[in-house]
């Protein structure tokens, strides 16, 4: 499925920008979002920055991606990744 990865601009450039997520760095093409200052969060698809994210959006998406990575490692306590949802686990049947 099509996972977008939030990345933060580390070194700004007019056409390309060095972006980072948790130590992973990528050169992203910025043609769709224009040049962005250092610190801006963008949603990366492959090697393009597709859209600008607010820090809140970036953290929500990043938490979702992190939770999937944790699940891939076999971790089962994933509540910490969704603290903003205020939805406890096992609260009964789907509505």
């Amino acid at each position: 499925m099509c996972l977008g990865i939030p990345m933060q601009v580390l070194e700004a450039g007019e056409f390309m920008a060095l972006c980072e997520r948790r130590g992973e760095q990528r050169q992203l093409n910025m043609m769709l979002v224009g040049p962005q200052p250092v610190g801006t969060w963008v949603l990366a698809l492959k090697d393009h920055a597709r859209e600008i994210l607010t820090p809140e959006q970036a953290h929500q998406i990043d938490d979702a991606v992190m939770s999937l990575e944790a699940a891939l490692r076999g971790e089962t306590d994933l509540d910490g990744f969704f603290s903003d949802l205020e939805l406890p686990s096992a609260v009964g049947p789907p509505r």
């Binding site: 499925m1 099509c2 996972l3 977008g4 990865i5 997520r21 992973e24 990528r26 043609m31 769709l32 979002v33 949603l43 698809l45 492959k46 090697d47 393009h48 597709r50 859209e51 929500q60 998406i61 938490d63 979702a64 991606v65 939770s67 999937l68 990575e69 699940a71 891939l72 089962t76 994933l78 969704f82 949802l85 939805l87 686990s89 096992a90 609260v91 009964g92 049947p93 789907p94 509505r95």
Partner: protein, 372 residues
Amino acid sequence: MTTAIPAEGRVELRIEWDGHAVQRAEVRSRRPQPGALLVGRTSEHAQAVIPRLYSLCGDAQSVAVDALDAVLRMGGPDDAGLAEWAERIRLENIREHLWRLGLDWPRAVGDPQQPGPLRELLGARTRFAADRQAAADWAGATFTGLFGREHLTWLENPAPESLAQWLNAGPTALAALLARLQPRLTGLGRSRRPLFRAGDLQAMVHAVLPRLRSDPDFHWRPDWDGQVFEMGPLARQAVHPLVAAMLERQREPDSWLRVLARVLELGRALHSLSEAVPAGHDLAWQSGDDEAAVGLEMVRGVLLHWVRAGPDGIRDYRIVAPTEWNFHPEGPAQQALMQLQAQDEERLREAVTLQVMALDPCVQYELEIVHA
């Protein structure tokens, strides 16, 4: 190539090549499932988490999980929901087609990229959802910019000559791009796998629901009645007179036909949006005692969501993405790889790139070439 982040998953292609032709091809698609995040949770949790996770095709994923919730709660979505979802998916499809045709394909052949329409759409998505006239105006202008004002009979005309006239006239950057792509893509990527017919969606959802329940690996290797289908724009546009005529002539679809179908679909979607024609929905659902499945046509093909739930919340949740059909171990991508002939490795890699782009995975792929 960019290093993949684990959660992004990957498609692995391995081919054995004897210096002239491919002798063996293996395709493996391994993308993580969200089930572990959702077990014991509510539908609301799934509705919040899945669009965050799959934010790039977020509209289709969001519609699928919302539809699943409606099936569980009310037996199915209402007409207003279906209409709203169809509009969202139409805009998402247009966006993805603009990405492929404005960015990826020009770059593949050394043409200047054409990000303008895509940039406009990304910047105005929220406005277009609320202001239909603004969306229609944008779609009309974008249509003219991509296709020009003349030689457009091929969009509805079954005669391949009318397409040739448009390509030869080269009135727009898109026409010029396609004229360059046609000789490179014709005959490339041939596959005998059947094209999935949109009219079969309900029957397919009905048929695969028990398979999803009983086979924990179904989403890795989906089939319907033993058949692996090609999904996506070509399958949807196979009934278009031009595509139908070309399919009848060449029997096996190739990469050129896949790109052409994408262009046709983009043209028709822009035209219908510019004329304020409501988007039609391709969404089907099926429910059982403690489970439900939803299938919908998104840009890359049929997206399936399946859930099993009980008093303790969600017990299992699985997604079958269109890439799982197209990049099935015995699917159209594998068949296409088996047809490849190249005299040197650089050309082999280029051919793989072109045919994979025409089939359109939504994750990066890794290619291993073994000298047989």
